[in-house]
């Protein structure tokens, strides 16, 4: 009987479905299993899927290629990709497996190329996974060298394409990492007699965008999307500055000549008319080149039946220019001469100032997003992995699960993992915000992007790519920055109606001034309408919340605090009560040896050595604490003999020729041992929340060892600070009341909910909520998930590399309770900043627009110049961004007195 290697079914040896792999015939129950096997035989033969692309030539002269596909998130995408590939000529077979995320293609190389297949995958909306290598090449003199190297590389199997930029002396090579690696490629080039050197490292998949090879070479250094956006910002800034300089150069003389009286030019002179005509002409390029973005922006918005800042500027500027031009060319159509005034200066100055304002805004915004840029920049570029017993440097994108990675002192840890050999102090400040390096050894978790300080170690990759803590952090921060705090919903409603409303106010002001204003009515009406259009600043309003949120959330990430959403931020600053889980939150969550008490004739060391030795045979967590306590004090342990565990009482064994008993008072009584004064000691210890264990040696009470879950060093300070901030602090625990009270006394918690079953924690949170309080729950995120979800704000604490805890609104990467204080303070600071911004923007608009409309004129004779309005408008949004950037200086406040 043969066995189907795919589905495991026993099959008749005469199965019609057969396949040969590595000279071995496999039989299958059905065609389905056969084709599954054909796609990836290695998976079934070796029991593990091949992780990267493979490449081989079949007997028929057809080439087989397996291409990993990036970002395939649904099985149905497979059909789309397959269809697109099959459109190519010379394709024999194209199968895309949604589960393994691979395209399996058999094709004729004379008819189609791998690049075309990759192109087809791209066309269907996906990216093929291949690595891109940028390699500097020295010693090339001419184009023939280029074609020689390119030809040689393109012949190499596994190299998808190679293109060389002679000017930059750089080769851009796309390759399948499984087939060929960087050393091999370098070797090929060096064999031809050229030198190679690494050029800004190798960048890897995915490659996106529709660029020609040539452009790609040039923009390769900017492959990183962050850099590309930064580049776009830089370009936009430069373009705005160019436009600003040009418009300023024009605006200054236009402004001066707008007051001909000051220059001694007579009103109505021919000279003045010519000057005015030239002013009108030079203002045109200011409007249509330096101000072109206002026109295109306004038009695009208009087509979408919406209006924005560009619409307002365009309307104001155009109205001013048209009126002036009519006044210059046809002064006779105006009933009185003073109506034929000109406002070219308004057009030029408004564009100049707003351009400057926008440029400054871009600069300031660049600083606002620094935090996330810094996070993304933390990613290591390469990793030194151990494969087939050899050390090799590979791009970090090529690291796969279970790779063993070697990290030397001073190096960045490339991905998340678990130490398998060696130990070191690791600086995790970039992820957790904790500035003191953490000692780690075998079995400890390491986080990618942190820096190894002192020792060398090897670790096994447990999370790579999108799953690493860093990637999750970046994603969470981005998500939070895109979310809206409830306060923004009101703003959204306002900004939806804002611009058309301003247009209506401008029209209404024009009409009112025309009807009841002072003479010359037309001039006043026009000035007022233009000023209203120009002073209104929808940008300041729209920017107020998102920009502060961006800085606040980014600041949190810098300190190891991940805020899930704007809503969480807004709620976190309105809390009344903080519920702290005891175990793992206030305390370390692991018992440790706290007290050793001896009777006459025994010393501490002996007692610890004996009791720890007995516990070596047990697997009790309390026992581990005793062993660790003894080892930390450098005590040598013995091998226990005749070990016996007495359930509910304790353990006994022979150690170093003595009979040792370790257990509770019952164990002592059962063995007729008089505990004497130790009994009183044990009561005191228990009152302090510790677990005492009696030790008897050869039938005589020798002492007590006590273990307890110790309080984290800064819990007390953090709790004091929380209370100082006016919050009620409650401790919740499943422990008995005595232990709970003891811990509560130590850290200064007043209200204790003890003996709460894990499943009832959520209910207790709800009880507090029923008291009308807004409650935050702080817990470990795993056992406390329901309670975290029930609370108004759930804070998951000390999660290491698992940062994306579903139930938590805020994740604290570091274990310290101080993070809770920090999170609340940061929320308060951010919300305050948002409110300042919103108040500023609302106040500016609600005061500015009526003043611009001339509401003060009847009382004080005050009328705003459109030039002042332009300046105010240009700098209102810069002010908002600058105010948000103040948050970058946020520092947690811990008052020293507690």
């Amino acid at each position: 009987m043969a066995k189907d290697i795919v589905c495991g079914m026993e099959i008749d040896p005469l199965s019609p479905y057969k396949s040969t792999y590595r000279e071995e015939t496999f039989e299958f129950c059905s065609d389905g299993c056969k084709s599954k096997f054909d796609e990836n035989p290695q998976k079934y033969v070796n029991g593990e899927p091949q992780k990267e692309a493979t490449y081989q030539i079949t007997a028929k002269g057809m080439e087989k290629i397996q291409l990993p596909i990036v970002d395939m998130n649904c099985a149905s995408c497979a059909v789309t990709i397959e269809k697109e590939i099959r459109k190519l000529p010379g394709i024999q077979k194209a199968v895309v497996n949604g589960a393994t995320e691979k395209a399996y293609v058999e094709f004729d190389r004379s008819e189609t190329s791998v690049t075309q297949i990759i192109g087809a995958i791209k066309k269907s909306g996906y990216k093929a996974g291949y690595a891109t290598l940028r390699l500097g090449i020295g010693g090339m003199h001419c184009n023939s060298c280029v074609s020689k190297i390119e030809g040689e590389l393109n012949k190499t199997s596994g190299v998808l394409s190679a293109s060389i930029d002679l000017g930059a002396e750089v080769a851009l090579i796309k390759y399948l990492p499984s087939e060929v690696d960087m050393p091999a490629i370098r070797n090929i080039i060096e064999r031809l007699g050229y030198r190679t050197y690494e050029s800004s490292g190798s960048t890897a998949l995915p490659e996106n965008g529709e660029k020609t090879d040539n452009q790609e070479t040039k923009s390769q250094t900017k492959e990183n999307p962050v850099d590309e956006n930064q580049l776009a910002h830089e370009q936009e800034y430069k373009s705005l500055m160019r436009k600003f300089v040009f418009s300023a150069v024009v605006a200054v003389p236009v402004l001066i000549f707008s007051y001909p009286g000051l220059l001694g030019i007579a009103e109505g002179s021919v000279l003045l008319q010519w000057i005015q005509i030239s002013m009108g002409i030079v203002t045109l390029p200011v409007m249509f080149w330096a101000g072109s973005h206002f026109y295109t922006g306004a038009w695009a918005a208009f087509k979408n039946r919406s209006a924005n800042m560009h619409t307002l500027i365009t309307l104001g500027v155009t109205a001013a220019w048209l009126y002036s031009t009519v006044a210059v060319l046809f002064p006779q159509i105006f009933p009185t001469e003073d109506l034929a005034d000109i406002f070219y200066d308004v057009a030029a100055v408004v564009i100049t100032l707003v351009n400057l304002g926008m440029a400054m805004e871009i600069r300031a915004k660049g600083r606002s997003s620094e935090a996330i840029k810094k996070l993304m920049g933390l990613q290591a570029k390469t990793a030194r992995v151990l494969r087939n017993g050899k050390e090799m440097d590979i791009p970090v994108e090529e690291v796969v699960l279970d790779d063993v990675i070697i990290v030397r002192p001073g190096e960045k840890i490339p991905v998340d993992g678990e130490i398998v050999e060696g130990s070191s102090a690791i600086d995790e400040s970039m992820i957790t915000g904790e500035s003191i390096p953490v000692e780690k050894s075998k079995g400890d978790e390491v986080i990618g992007a942190t820096i190894n300080k002192t020792g060398s170690f090897k670790f096994r990759a447990t999370k790579v790519g999108k799953d690493t803590a860093l990637s999750q952090i970046v994603q969470m921060v981005e998500e939070a920055q895109s979310s809206k705090p409830p306060i923004q919903r009101i703003v959204d409603k306002v900004s939806e109606y804002f611009v058309p409303t301003v247009m209506i106010i401008a029209i209404a002001s024009f009409v009112i001034w025309y009807l009841i204003g002072p003479a010359p009515v037309l001039i006043y009406a026009l000035i007022v309408a233009v000023t209203v259009l120009v002073i209104a600043c929808p940008c300041a309003l729209g920017l107020a919340t998102p920009i502060s949120l961006m800085v606040g959330v980014g600041k949190g990430a810098e300190n190891g605090i991940l805020i899930r959403s704007g809503e969480a931020l807004e709620t976190a600053q309105k809390l009344d009560t903080i519920v702290l889980d005891k175990t793992g939150t206030i305390t370390e969550g692991q018992p440790s040896l706290t007290d050793v008490i001896t009777t006459d004739g025994f010393n501490d060391e002996e007692l610890m050595a004996w009791s720890a030795s007995v516990e070596r045979a047990s697997e009790h967590p309390l026992g581990e604490a005793i062993i660790k306590g003894a080892e930390d004090r450098g005590i040598t342990l013995f091998d226990p003999k005749n070990f016996n565990a007495v359930p509910g009482h304790g353990v006994e064994a022979d150690v170093d020729g003595r009979k040792i008993l370790l257990g509770n008072i019952k164990m002592m009584l059962d063995n007729n041992i008089d505990a004497g004064r130790l009994q009183d000691e044990s009561v005191t210890l228990a009152d302090d929340g510790k677990t005492p264990m009696f030790v008897a040696v050869d039938g005589r009470a020798a002492g007590i060892v006590a273990v307890a879950d110790t309080v984290k060093p800064d819990s007390k300070e953090a709790i004091a600070q929380l209370k100082k901030m006016g919050l009620e602090v409650v401790m919740i625990t499943g422990d008995n009341k005595r232990t709970a009270d003891a811990i509560a006394r130590q850290v200064g918690v007043d209200r204790v909910m003890a003996e709460v079953l894990p499943e009832d924690k959520a209910m207790n949170v709800q009880k507090l909520q029923n008291e009308g309080k807004r409650v935050a729950m702080v817990g470990d995120g795993i056992n406390d998930a329901p309670a975290l979800a029930q609370a108004d704000i759930g804070l998951a604490i000390g999660t290491g590399t698992d940062v994306a805890i579903e139930a938590a609104d805020i994740t604290l990467i570091k274990g310290s309770l101080k993070g809770v204080v920090l999170a609340i303070q940061l929320s308060k600071a951010t919300m305050k900043n948002i409110k300042q911004n919103l108040f500023g923007a609302f106040a500016y608009n609600t005061a500015g627009i009526p003043v611009a409309a001339g509401i003060l004129y009847p009382f004080f004779g005050i009328l705003l110049s459109p030039l002042i309005a332009a300046a105010a408008m240009a700098f209102s949004s810069v002010t908002v961004v600058t105010n948000a950037n103040r948050l970058r200086k946020f520092q947690p406040k811990f008052t020293t007195k507690s």
Partner: protein, 125 residues
Amino acid sequence: MTPDELIVLIGGILLIALVVWYFWLSGSEGTRIKSGAGGIQEALIKVKGGYSPNIVVVEAGKPVRLNFLREETAACSEQVVFPDFGKQATLTPHKTISVEFTPDSPGEYEFQCAMGMLRGKLIVE
């Protein structure tokens, strides 16, 4: 009231009426895209002073991919945000940037730029 005053008054009122009608009452005429029945529901949205189309109709429970192509460099439209789905994307100018998610329940969901000046709607049926 002189004739010119009358003209300005009536003209002003008409203009206001026009603004109200055009921006608020006429209803957006964004092209509706009914995405393919099987597989991923995909639409290309151009970003230039607004989103066109600005109404996308999709089916619930199936993955949606909206490809944004930003054809301007003005900073306003740099980000597109889907607050209901917690998604955002930074739109690199002149590049197609995709936003993917699966809307589970029918309803109308807004998407917009970071500042809320540009708006679009995703109708899930």
